[in-house]
Point group: C2
Chain length 203, copies 2
């Protein structure tokens, strides 16, 4: 019997990754599935599809719908929501900081991800701003300066790039995407329950 594992691939710039990140912990724990947070960058994947920005900006009717849909979803989940003034936001530094915590299995890795999404989609903060990221780390009682320094290192630059390359190799085309240990892919916040059910069967 394989390990009951689910990879949660997300980009901090991705809107539907916000409710997915907030939901996945309690649901996975109920299903007794271990979740790995896998931040990556959608930018290079979108560029390979010929998109220079988010499809929600390129296709305006779809974008308008998405913001309304996200607002409804967050209301349903009792999650605070506020449409950011700038979308999408550069998520590269945030993703590298998250990797520092997640790769080292630091206790703050996942809480940082949740707090970062809330800062962006509920608190109207700029997640491309090192000061905001530093404040989030400080709130989590993490010494921000060495983490930000590590996040800016070559090792983390290469580390995030290789995560993004793996996402691309796996056929990921959007976020959030959930992948089970046996390689089954589920795309979108609304597929989270099905992804967990699949992972739970442990095929």
């Amino acid at each position: 019997m394989g390990e009951k594992l689910l990879d949660f691939w997300f980009d901090f710039a991705s809107t539907y990754s916000y409710p997915a990140a907030q939901r996945i912990g309690p649901l996975a724990s109920k299903a007794r599935v271990k979740v790995r947070f896998r931040p990556f960058l959608l930018g290079p994947i979108f560029q390979a599809q010929g998109w220079e920005t988010s499809p929600f900006n390129l296709y305006q009717a779809k974008g308008r719908y998405m913001w309304r849909d996200l607002e409804r979803l967050c209301a349903e989940l009792d999650l605070p929501f506020r449409q950011p003034d700038i979308f999408p936001q550069q998520s590269v530094l945030a993703a590298r900081v998250a990797l520092v915590g997640l790769k080292l299995q630091e206790k703050w890795g996942k809480p940082f991800c949740l707090a970062l999404f809330r800062a962006e989609f509920a608190e109207g903060l700029r997640i491309d701003d090192a000061a905001t990221i530093g404040e989030i780390l400080t709130r989590l009682k993490v010494d921000a300066a060495p983490v930000l320094e590590a996040a800016r290192s070559d090792a983390l630059r290469v580390g995030l790039r290789s995560e993004t390359e793996e996402a691309q190799r796996l056929g990921i085309f959007g976020a959030p995407t959930f992948i089970t240990a046996d390689g089954e892919m589920f795309w979108g916040n609304d597929r989270l329950e099905r992804a967990l059910a699949w992972a739970k069967r442990g095929r």
Copy 2:
């Protein structure tokens, strides 16, 4: 209190419209919501977005995922499924035939839609073929020849075009799309339950 009404906008070429069409009747009846079937053509809407074919063909990783996801969904719903050899298929004649039945409030309007989706996504038939459409009508005990003749008339050509224009005016960018009497839009088969719940509140 407004009428509890939900418009179900779909294109016969749309993959996720297949499970949505099969699911909507029983669910709406349970929610005591009246559903109007609104066939339209996605083609002109996609073309306005710069797409000459389905985004599932333009974006291959997304397309591969969609077929797998649809297969899983149909298995879950116990719906027969077989990936069509040709995708997307020209849905214009099928949509006009459906309009003949739906506009006249004929009893065969909705059953025709369900049967047509099954022919396309479960039986490997070509829905752009008048003979197939005729056979489906015959199975529903409808005299096919006059219906096909009506479907080819100017009135129906204009009728379908004006439905598509209304879809575009409403901001529809994909299918299936559900719109409540108070103008709330829900996109995708996975939003059907939420659309019905909204319609049921009758705001």
